[in-house]
C-alpha cells in the first residue's frame, strides 16, 4: 500500500485581486499596537488605555461602533452570547446540573431544570429526576443546546428546551476557531448534498445524516443506532474535509460557503482534499464564487 509523506513547506498566501480593496479597509492590529490617541472614544473588549493612548491587547481586527472601539481577536476561546447555538460535550454529572465543555474559558452549565423531561411534561424536578440524570446524559455525550444566560463571571448556562436540541447521535465533529463561524438566523442546515450540519457558535461543527421523517415525541431523547449508508458516509467525510480546508484558509463558515466548497471539491477524491495544493485550488474557486455572489 503506497503511503504519501511530505515535509512541511512554506504556506503560500493566496488572495484574490478583487478582494484587495476591502482588505485595505480592515484595520488589523497585534498586541501593543496603538489604535488611536483620540480620547473621545470608549474602549471595548480587547483594548486597554496606555497613558492616554488606546492600545490593542489581542491580535485581530478593529471594530468601531459609533464611539466604541473594540478588537475582535482571530484566535480566541468562545465568548457566550444569549441565543447562540452551541455543540458541547458532557464532562461531569453533578447534583442538579451537567458540566459541558464548549471551548470557552469556563465550563458551561446545563441545569436539570433546563432540559425537557421525557414525554414533555412540565413539573418540578424531583429527587427521582436527579437520580435519573445519568440515564439521559453521561460523561462523553455530545449535545446541541442554546445559551440561555451568562453568569457574572462569564460562564454560560445552556438549555435544550426545544425539540431540535438534545443529545446527538451518529455523526462527525469538526473543531474550528469560534471566530470563523458566521452569526446567522439559523445554525441548523439541511444541505442539498444529502447531509445535515449544525454550525455551533463555539467552533464545534456537527455533521450528521439527514434524519428520515421527523419524529414528533422523540425529540432529544431518540438517537438512532441504525447503520448509516455508504453514500451518506461519503458525503459526510467529504464535508468534513471541506470544513477543515475552509478553516485552514480562514474562510468564514456559513451554509453557502460550505456548499460552494463541497461543489468545488467534487472534482477530487475525498482524501485528496487535505493535500495543501488541492486545498488551495478548491478554496480559490470557493472564494471566487462567494465574491461573485456578493457583487
Amino acid at each position: 500500500m503506497a503511503v504519501e509523506m511530505r515535509l512541511p513547506a512554506v504556506h503560500k498566501h493566496i488572495s484574490l485581486a478583487a478582494s484587495q480593496s476591502n482588505r485595505e479597509d480592515k484595520h488589523l492590529v497585534v498586541p501593543g499596537d496603538v489604535i488611536t490617541s483620540d480620547t473621545g472614544f470608549m474602549r471595548g473588549h480587547g483594548t486597554y488605555m496606555d497613558e492616554d493612548r488606546l492600545t490593542a491587547s489581542v491580535a485581530g481586527e478593529v471594530e468601531r461602533v459609533n464611539k466604541l472601539i473594540c478588537v475582535r481577536p482571530l484566535k480566541t476561546r468562545y465568548n457566550g452570547e444569549v441565543g447562540d447555538v452551541v455543540v458541547g460535550r458532557i464532562t461531569e454529572v453533578q447534583q442538579k446540573r451537567w458540566k459541558v465543555e464548549t471551548n470557552s474559558r469556563l465550563d458551561s452549565v446545563l441545569l436539570l431544570s433546563s432540559v425537557n423531561l421525557p414525554g414533555g411534561e412540565l413539573r418540578r424536578r424531583s429527587a427521582q429526576d436527579e437520580l435519573a440524570m445519568r440515564d439521559y446524559l453521561q460523561e462523553g455525550d455530545l449535545i446541541s443546546a442554546e445559551v440561555q444566560s451568562i453568569f457574572s463571571d462569564g460562564a454560560v448556562s445552556l438549555h435544550t428546551r426545544s425539540l431540535k436540541y438534545g443529545k446527538l447521535g451518529q455523526g462527525v465533529l469538526v473543531l474550528v476557531s469560534p471566530s470563523l463561524v458566521k452569526r446567522q438566523k439559523t445554525h441548523f442546515h439541511n444541505l442539498p448534498c444529502g447531509a445535515s450540519m449544525i454550525l455551533g457558535n463555539n467552533g464545534y461543527l456537527w455533521l450528521y445524516p439527514t434524519p428520515g421523517q421527523q419524529d414528533e415525541e422523540a425529540g432529544g431523547y431518540y438517537t438512532s443506532m441504525e447503520p448509516v449508508s455508504l453514500s451518506d458516509r461519503e458525503v459526510i467525510s467529504r464535508l468534513r474535509n471541506c470544513l477543515l480546508a475552509l478553516s485552514a484558509h480562514k474562510v468564514l463558515l456559513y451554509d453557502t460557503s460550505v456548499l460552494y466548497c463541497y461543489e468545488a471539491s467534487l472534482a477530487h477524491q475525498i482524501k485528496d482534499i487535505l493535500k495543501p495544493e488541492i486545498m488551495e485550488e478548491i478554496i480559490l474557486e470557493t472564494r471566487q464564487r462567494l465574491v461573485e455572489l456578493e457583487g
Binding site: K67, C70, K185
Partner: protein, 541 residues
C-alpha cells in the same frame, strides 16, 4: 369578591366567590355584583423594541408567533377557519380534473378575463348609478339591457325607480319567452357567469311574452340610448291584475302590448347589439377610475375574441368545472390569508419597528442581532435613547453624580414649574440627550411610526436633574425637597427607579467591555443609595 378566571380559549366559565362576613348584602348590591356590566377587556399588548430584539436573538421563537397569541388577535376564529380549510381542501381534491388539451388550453386565462370583465363592469355600473347623470338616464321609459340568471341580453323598459338610495330597485318590463315569466327562485344561477360574452340581443323564438319584474343594479348590464313612451301605472296594474288566478287567461292590456311590440321591434332591428350610453362621453363622468375602467373594459372585450377555447365542443361543461374549482380555490385562499401571519393587526407596526432597528444598525439586513442590539436587550425602558447615549460616549466626561442626574430624565415623567439650576457640563449633557432624541424621533417618523419627533423628545423631562445631583452629592433629603415643587413621594420613587436604570447601564457596560463606565455607574449607585430614599418599606416584608 375573589375567584379564578377562566383560561382564555380553554375554559368556558370562571368562578367568583363573594365573601359575606357581616351578613348577606342587600338585593340591589348583589344584583350589581352578579349581573352588572363588567369592564371591557382591551389588549394592552405593545410592541417594544426590547421585546423584538430579545425574540430575534432566539432561533426558536418568532415575533409573529408572539403577536398571534396576544389578546388583540382573539377575534380571529382560527379553529373554525382551520376546519373550513381542511373541508375545502377535501372538496378540491374530489373535484374532477380539468381538461386543458388542444383548444381548451387557454380556458383558465379565459376564465380570469371573464371574471375581471365582470368586476370592471360592476364597478363601472356602480359609479354610473352614483352619479347624477346616471340616475337621470335611468328614468322611466329608458330602454335597458337585462342580464341575469333568467334573462340573457333581453331588452327591458324602466317603469318605476325606487326611492331607496341604498338598494335601488327598478321595476321594468322585459321581453321573454312564453313560459319563462317567473323569476328563477334559485339565486345561484344568477351568480353563475355566462361563459360566452356576447352582445347579441335576445329575440324570442316562439311567441313573444313579457314580464314585469323588480331588477337590481347588477341585473342591468347596459343603458341604451333609446327611450320609449310608456304609461307605467297602467302597465303595472294590468300585470298585477293578470297575476291573480281569476284573470290569468285575460289578454294583456293595450299599454303592455304596445310596449312589448316596441321592444321586440327594437331587438329585431339591432340583433347584434344596440348602442349603449358611454359613461365618459354620454354621461360625462370624468373621474379617473371611470375612464380607466371604461378603457380596461374595452380592452378585455376585444381580447375575448382571440380565445380558442370557446370554439371547443365541450366548452360549457369545462367552463362549469373551472368555475366550481375556482370558487372553492378563492374561498380557500381567502381563509388561508386570514389564518396566516399577513392578517395580524400589529404586523405593519412590526415592520416599521424592524426598519428603525435596521437603520440604527441594531440588527443587520438578515435579522441577526448586532452588538448595539444586544446592549439594547438589557434595557427595559427608553432602550433606543439609552443605547445611543452609551455608544455616543455621552456619559464619559461626566462625574458619577452628574451622570446620575442626567439619566434622571428617563424616569421622571411630570412637568415642573421651577426650572432647576444646572451646571455647564450637565447642560451640555442635556443638549446632547435632546439631540439624540431628536434624531431618533425623526428616524421613527421617517419609517412610518405614528409619533412625531416633538412628542418623542418631549417624553424626556429634566425637572429632577438638580435634585438628583444634590442628592448624589450628599445633601439631606429635607433640603432637596425645598429645591423643587415636585412631591416628596415622586422624588423617592424616581430615585429608586434611577437605581434600576444605573444597574442596567452597568450590565450594558459589561457587555460592551468598558470597565470605566461600569465602575462609574457603580459609584453613582452607591452615591444615591442611602438614607430615607432606600429605607425598607414598613408595609412590605
Amino acid at each position: 369578591m375573589a375567584g379564578r378566571a377562566g383560561r382564555r380559549g380553554l375554559d368556558a366559565t370562571g368562578t367568583v366567590i363573594i365573601l359575606c362576613k357581616a351578613g348577606v348584602h342587600d338585593m340591589g348590591d348583589l344584583h350589581a355584583m352578579m349581573l352588572g356590566k363588567p369592564t371591557v377587556l382591551q389588549s394592552q399588548f405593545r410592541l417594544t423594541y426590547t421585546m423584538i430584539l430579545n425574540l430575534l436573538r432566539v432561533e426558536a421563537l418568532r415575533v409573529t408567533d408572539m403577536m398571534r397569541r396576544s389578546f388583540s388577535e382573539n377575534h380571529r376564529d382560527t379553529q373554525a377557519h382551520e376546519k373550513r380549510i381542511s373541508e375545502l381542501r377535501n372538496t378540491l381534491s374530489t373535484l374532477p380534473p380539468l381538461d386543458t388539451e388542444g383548444q381548451l388550453s387557454d380556458l383558465l386565462s379565459y376564465y380570469h378575463t371573464i371574471t375581471e370583465l365582470r368586476i370592471t363592469t360592476e364597478s363601472l355600473q356602480r359609479a354610473v348609478l352614483e352619479s347624477v347623470n346616471g340616475l337621470k338616464a335611468l328614468s322611466v321609459g329608458r330602454v335597458v339591457i337585462v342580464n341575469n340568471g333568467q334573462h340573457r341580453n333581453a331588452l327591458g323598459v324602466i317603469l318605476q325607480v325606487s326611492n331607496d338610495a341604498v338598494n335601488r330597485t327598478f321595476t321594468a318590463l322585459i321581453i321573454c319567452e312564453k313560459g319563462n315569466e317567473e323569476a328563477a327562485g334559485d339565486d345561484l344561477s344568477n351568480k353563475a357567469l355566462h361563459p360566452i360574452y356576447s352582445t347579441t340581443l335576445f329575440i324570442p323564438e316562439g311567441p313573444c311574452s313579457h314580464t314585469v319584474q323588480k331588477l337590481k343594479l347588477q341585473d342591468i348590464s347596459a343603458i341604451t340610448a333609446k327611450t320609449l313612451k310608456v304609461i307605467p301605472e297602467r302597465i303595472i296594474d294590468n300585470y298585477n291584475k293578470r297575476q291573480q288566478p281569476r284573470f290569468r287567461l285575460d289578454p294583456p292590456g293595450q299599454a303592455i302590448s304596445t310596449a312589448t311590440q316596441e321592444l321586440l321591434r327594437l331587438a329585431e332591428a339591432n340583433p347584434n347589439g344596440i348602442t349603449t350610453l358611454d359613461p365618459v362621453n354620454d354621461l360625462h363622468l370624468k373621474g379617473v377610475d371611470v375612464v380607466e375602467g371604461v378603457m380596461r373594459q374595452r380592452v378585455l372585450q376585444d381580447s375575448l375574441k382571440d380565445f380558442h377555447c370557446i370554439h371547443s365542443p365541450t366548452f360549457t361543461e369545462q367552463f362549469a368545472r373551472v368555475q366550481e374549482r375556482m370558487s372553492v380555490q378563492e374561498e380557500l385562499d381567502k381563509l388561508l390569508f386570514l389564518v396566516s401571519d399577513q392578517s395580524l393587526t400589529l404586523l405593519p407596526e412590526y415592520h416599521q419597528r424592524i426598519k428603525v432597528l435596521e437603520a440604527l444598525q441594531y440588527v443587520d439586513s438578515t435579522g441577526a442581532v448586532q452588538l448595539k442590539g444586544r446592549v439594547a436587550c438589557q434595557i427595559s425602558s427608553h432602550e433606543l435613547l439609552l443605547t445611543e447615549l452609551l455608544f455616543e460616549n455621552t456619559l464619559s466626561p461626566l462625574a458619577p453624580e452628574e451622570s446620575a442626574a442626567l439619566l434622571s430624565c428617563l424616569v421622571f415623567t411630570q412637568n415642573t414649574q421651577i426650572d432647576p439650576h444646572i451646571t455647564n457640563t450637565l447642560q451640555e449633557g442635556i443638549n446632547q440627550v435632546l439631540n439624540v432624541a431628536q434624531r431618533i424621533g425623526e428616524l421613527q417618523r421617517d419609517c412610518g411610526i405614528a409619533q412625531t419627533a416633538e412628542d418623542f423628545v418631549a417624553q424626556f423631562k429634566f425637572g429632577l436633574t438638580e435634585v438628583v445631583y444634590c442628592w448624589a452629592r450628599g445633601m439631606p433629603f429635607a433640603e432637596i425637597a425645598q429645591l423643587t415643587d415636585v412631591q416628596e413621594g415622586t422624588i423617592v420613587r424616581c430615585i429608586q427607579r434611577l437605581d434600576e436604570v444605573l444597574k442596567e447601564v452597568r450590565q450594558a457596560a459589561r457587555i460592551v467591555g468598558d470597565s470605566v463606565l461600569g465602575s462609574k455607574m457603580e459609584r453613582a449607585s452607591l452615591a444615591i443609595r442611602r438614607d430615607i430614599v432606600f429605607t425598607a418599606s414598613l408595609y412590605t416584608h
